[in-house]
Amino acid sequence: MAPSSLDIAAQRGDPRSTRPSVGQKARARKPWTTDRAGRARTLTMLQSAAGNAAVTRLLTKGAATGYGALGGKRELVEAPPATPTVAEATGERQGPETGRALIDEQREAVTVDARESEERIGASTAEGEDRIGEHFGGVREGLGTLLDRSEAEVRGFIDGRRNEATAASAQATASAQSLVDGTVAAAQGQGEAARQTIGAAVDGASTSLEGTVQGLTGQITGVVNRISLPDLPGVGRLRSLAAGLVNGAASTVSGGLAQVRSMLNSALQTGTRMVGALISQLGKAATSALAKSGAAIQRGVQAVANGLGRVATLVLGAVRRVVGTTILPAVNRLENRLVRNLGTARRQAVTAVRANRDESLRTLAATSTSAAATAPGAAALRGVTEGSREGNRGLLATFRERTGGILGSVFQALTAGAAQITAHVGGLLGQAQNAVAGTVGRIVAGFGQITAAVSEFAGSLLRSLTSAVGDVVGFVQGLIQDPARALTDYAGSALTAITGLPARLARNVLSGDFTVPSLGDLVGHFRPASGGPITKPRPPGGPITLPGLRLILLVLATFGAIIVYAFPQLMAVVTALVALGLTPLGALIVVGLAAILVLVALLLLLYLLWKLATSKPKPPDPEPVITHETAFTAPDGSPKSRGEVGVGEKVLFTGSASGAWTATAGTPASGTGDKFTWTAPDRAATATITLTVGAKSKSVDLKVVEPASITAHRNRTIPIGPGTAGAGMKLTFHYSPKHVSFGNVEAKEVSGPATNITGYFRKHFSDADLWHDSGDTFYPIKENNEDSAEDTASLTSPITPWEAGTFDWIIPNHFKTKTESGDGKKFTDVTQAFQMLDATGRVRIDKAGASVERSPSDP
């Protein structure tokens, strides 16, 4: 099974340990050297045998033909100085037929070897194509696995956060419900206790009063029996009248008791009703709080669900887009290019084999049969064939080495790239998860705040109820005490008057006065104390003495009653006023008075409307005028009234008159008044701000500009220390354009891989070692478009020996406004280029127009 990209990453190991050393590479190139040496030897023999000086040029050319595409670099191998030929040395000769046969045999051998070499090159090419297919298939499968795993990870994470929010909401709802239940139960308990207190007070007052009044009544009645008058004419009638008077007084006191009993019952009912109303109001308030808190919690849960769904869609969509539109096409292009290059290399190798063959055949053809018939000539001919074979072997070995090496390097780079993609995607997912977890955490914490608010509200309700119930109890106790004390006082004074009646009658009779005082003259009239449900008229001499005023109050109370009857909701106001200490009648008077005031206000309003409707039309509105001023000063000195602003810039608009403001982009979208403070949108746009005064409008167009480029200013260099290769500098970024301010913008560098890795850095470092991890943190830009954060660009390397090499970071830069969330928008790439210039270890770093260069001998 082909390894996935993740498996590839896992199997990659440390590339430094698998990368061939310089010595290994030198040994791997040995076939070229062997090939050249063998050809040189053969060349020497042929030169001797056939005297063909052109062979040297032809063979060296054939050996190197077409390998530029595979990275080969041909070196011309010169033949050693000429030496005496074999034929000359031995002088041996054979017949022409034998020579011809030998030449034909060698031609056949050269042709067959060339054909077999082509077949081997073809087989090696097919093997390379299989390896390409296998590795790239593995990468594609790995990308698929990465997508699946990313989706599973995101879905799992989202489900977990959703469950967390749901559980937290259920807990918060249950807590709020429990709080409200407990509050209502406590309120009912308080109400019951208040009712018992009021009932006990009424019962106690009633019982006590009854005993007292009955005792006094009995004493008053007993006075009749104790009346002793002289036996004179008319005295019998007088006694009878006096007895009637005493009995009348007793009846009056008894009647007062009944009256007071009625008042006490009324007080009890009023108190009970008031307590009931208070508890009912509390229950409604608590239920309303519970409903509101439940709705808020549900909104929070819904927001979490919606937000998580959007996050999942966005994150997975982004990952799929990156993989589907960037990575996968790049992988496919690389695979196609690799296959094409492999085919090119095969064709070039085959061309080289054929050239080698043709050259050898031409050499054989140029050899005379007579020369071939000699022993040295025959040996030279065989040498040509052997040379051709060696050349083909060398070509095949070189082809395999170069294609294998290149494929190995590509596969290694592919493995490293897959690991980086996995890490990058993982980083993106991690960032998204952190952001989501933070948001969900805040919402869940909000649930706790809602519960706490419900708790606080419930507590305040209970405290208010306790206070109100206490007031009710006190109010009822006051109602009870006043009439009871009045009746007791009245009965006591009646008893005193009645007790003195016999002596008064005796004195009158003795003085010839046989009249009997009236009951009113004797004991007066019982009038209970005012207040509460007792509705008998107040006794004369009270604070209300004007009959006209009384009539007015009565009218007001009646009107108030009508209003309350028409609008039952106002009963709550009446109850509240009673709870504050007013009598129900007083509360109705207040309601009636308020209703009259409202009526008067309405009539006044109608009058004003009528006056407005019948008034003369106003002169036409003047054309409004708008001026505006940015909060920030542009770095290039452009005026604050400029027509272009940076994203997120604040602008104060001032109108010539108060009116309605609207903005087609930015915030707020509307406003009123003669001034309008507006913030530019987060992205480039053209915003139209309009002031409408009456029927006239005036508009201003503002172009909103995003940051577009970065230049760096070098603040200072960084000392590295003698003997170490490296360089460093501190930079400040300047963001352009400068005719607007980016004072409400933040920017960051985004992490990414190194590119253009060559020489020293390719040899000693892996791609992962050279990966750019920027920290991915947004920093604010100042009003003058300078970065608030200082940048560092540095490199130190303790590894020797030094040699030339490079690597680059192409750094994407993102911006966002300070009030914006998320990853912002890419606006430019900044290249940070690292170079080791030569074997002295001199290092140069370039970034955004700034540079630093340093030798190891420098500080």
């Binding site: 460093g728 970024f733 470092f765 892996s766 990966w771 991890d773 560092t792 303790p798």
Partner: protein, 116 residues
């Protein structure tokens, strides 16, 4: 001579190879003194099982930093977190001891276990 107190934080301490993208490495510096100092944190070196990490040196020696990175007030601390170093620090499963050095200061080893 370093006059700040530095510490290293690695999270999580145990992970698998596929989970390396979750790894976060944080450098925390505290100025316990009574005057503002430049901690020169760009010179901090990370030893992974005794070998200096090039990836760390590039990460700590490059990029934008808050003002506190070069001027740390008394009693204040500055923290920086990197999230893409795991592939370079942990190329294969194993146990890794991470030690941060800055001048003569050396933090206690933070152990990270990476499983297959």
């Amino acid at each position: 001579m370093t006059s700040v107190s530095v510490s290293l934080r690695a999270e999580p301490a145990e992970l698998t190879m596929p989970e390396r993208h979750t790894f976060r490495l944080s450098l925390d510096a505290l100025n316990p003194g009574d005057r503002t100092v430049d901690p020169r944190l760009h010179r901090a070196r990370l030893l992974v099982n005794g070998h200096e990490s090039t990836a760390w040196s590039l990460a700590v020696g490059n990029g934008r930093r808050p003002p506190e990175w070069t001027a740390l007030p008394p009693g204040e601390r500055v923290t920086m977190t990197w999230s893409a170093l795991a592939a370079a620090l942990f190329p294969r499963p194993g146990t890794y001891d991470l030690v941060l050095t800055l001048d003569e200061t050396e933090t206690p080893a933070v152990r990270v276990v990476v499983r297959d």
